[in-house]
């Protein structure tokens, strides 16, 4: 029991790191994803190509490798930047979680692009036309009418991706971020009681996910207003 409680507390203490990783990755990922989705929907010449390339590259690269690339690559770039500009940028001052967030955000952005794009495209064209007819700009139309309606469709997928991110964030341990999975490994190494540790960490993950699931379904219910579905 003591073992259980001690480990539970130890792992809980880093839960904020896990949540921080997941939330920031989703927020940044969604921002990039929204941009990419709109570029794809409107098939903007040339940058549409660039976006496709970006999506293909990131989609094809396992997060683990993105993580390595961010961790080893960005410092290299900063380093040569620092040398060529003789600015005093110290790479070592950057906390590793920064690189983890970059990698996770890039990864999520690809999937979010798809989720957002499919949701937006499911909204009947008449809705956009109605916006235009009252004189809204495309931006206003998206913000006030299209995105709120698309969110209803997107939320189940966004919540999929978010809960995925909560667990995917454990890969940040590869670049020495101490989040929940890393902490449980640290805890397990003393006793080798992986079974118990896994139970503890699973319960914690589930708890966090339940909380977010609750939020998502509340949002979904709210947005369902005015929606007529099968």
């Amino acid at each position: 029991m003591q073992f259980f409680v001690d480990n539970l507390l130890a792992i809980i203490s880093v839960a904020p790191v896990t949540i921080l990783l997941a939330v920031t990755a989703m927020v940044i990922g969604a921002t990039i994803g929204l941009g990419c989705a709109i570029i794809q929907i409107y098939k903007l010449p040339f940058i549409n190509r660039l976006v496709s390339l970006y999506l293909a590259v990131i989609r094809g690269t396992p997060v683990l490798i993105l993580m390595f690339l961010a961790y080893y690559g960005i410092p290299q770039i900063l380093f040569s930047l620092a040398q060529s500009t003789s600015l005093n940028i110290s790479v070592n001052a950057v906390p590793p979680i920064f690189f983890a967030i970059i990698a996770l955000s890039l990864d999520r952005s690809v999937y979010l692009t798809q989720a957002i794009r499919s949701a937006i495209q499911s909204i009947p064209n008449g809705q956009l036309e109605a916006c235009y007819s009252v004189g809204m700009t495309t931006f206003q139309a998206y913000k006030r009418v299209i995105i709120p309606q698309a969110l209803v469709i997107a939320i189940p997928n966004v919540s999929n991706l978010f809960l995925g991110a909560v667990k995917e964030s454990s890969l940040a341990s590869i670049v020495s971020v101490v989040e929940m999975m890393n902490m449980s490994n640290i805890q397990a190494v003393n006793s080798y009681r992986y079974t118990e540790i896994f139970i503890i960490v699973s319960l914690l993950y589930w708890g966090i996910c339940l909380g977010f699931e609750f939020i998502f379904s509340a949002i979904e219910r709210r947005l369902m207003k005015g929606k007529m579905t099968v």
Binding site: E129, Y132, S133, V134, G135, V145, Q149
Partner: protein, 257 residues
């Protein structure tokens, strides 16, 4: 041709190989109510949609209140400008599904005209009252009957107070009582100098409301003129044919007087 409010020049539009608009020229004066009549599929809706740039014409230019846009090289800013001079009532209503009826009519005021929410709400309720929807202000579009949605669509366009309002069959879902009210409303608005283009199938309504009737068939304007002239004494064969049905029908059904 003193001061036309809306001027369409040589508008062409094709969907794939189907040529839907074959060079439409139309001039509408300020405060005029022009009704477009024509058989189903003749391109009436498409014409209104190109004016609002919901469909981009393949050729031609559009002038609204001195502001001219060449359809082919219209910039974003131009299109927006044009749209803000016009408002549209859709054949299938197209209310914002995620907004209540009141929010639907207020939306344009708040977002486009930057009117304060309080004031927009007051105006919104007023116009809803005018079309008999005061008690539905907080309902969502999917909770309304067809006629109620149509009236909400009309209210939304009217409230924007644009230079030109484009109506696409604004009375199709309305019972005669309401048709009369819409008629009165349109006439009142016309008196304030707003220009209107109305597509309708109801000839009696057209006759009442129009300063001029334009008869379209097969992507062309066949002829136009004041209602007394065009409905009674059309020049073209196609118009006569279209109208013959109506008069014959009317004749046979008129046992009310």
């Amino acid at each position: 041709m003193s001061n036309p409010m809306l001027q369409l020049r040589d508008i062409h539009k094709a969907f794939g190989t189907q040529h839907v608009l074959k060079g439409i020229n139309l001039t509408v004066e300020k405060g005029e109510v022009v009704v477009i009549l024509g058989p189903s599929g003749s391109g009436k809706t498409t014409l209104l949609r190109t004016v609002n740039f919901l469909e981009k014409a393949d050729r031609g230019s559009i002038t609204a209140n001195q502001f001219t846009v060449e359809c082919l090289d219209a910039k974003k800013q131009d299109v927006l400008m044009l749209r803000r001079k016009t408002a549209m009532v859709f054949q299938n209503y197209n209310l914002f599904a995620n907004k209540t009826i009141l929010e639907n009519v207020m939306e344009g005021l708040i977002i486009v005209k930057k009117i304060k929410k309080k004031i927009a709400e007051k105006k919104g309720l007023e116009v809803l009252d005018k079309v008999g929807l005061a008690d539905k202000a907080n309902a969502y579009p999917n909770q309304l009957s067809g006629g109620q949605q149509q009236r909400a669509g009309i209210a939304r366009a009217i409230l924007l107070n644009p230079d030109v309002i484009l109506f696409d069959e604004p009375t199709s879902a309305l019972d005669p009582e309401l048709v009369g009210e819409v008629l009165t409303t349109i006439k009142k608005i016309a008196q304030t100098g707003v220009t209107m283009v109305v597509v309708t199938h109801e000839v009696s309504f057209a006759k009442e409301v129009a300063n001029r009737i334009v008869f379209m068939a097969d992507g062309n304007i066949v002829e136009q003129g004041p209602p007394e002239k065009l409905l009674v004494n059309p020049e073209k064969e196609r118009t006569k044919q279209f109208l013959s049905r109506i008069t014959s029908e009317k004749g046979s059904t008129d046992f009310s007087n």
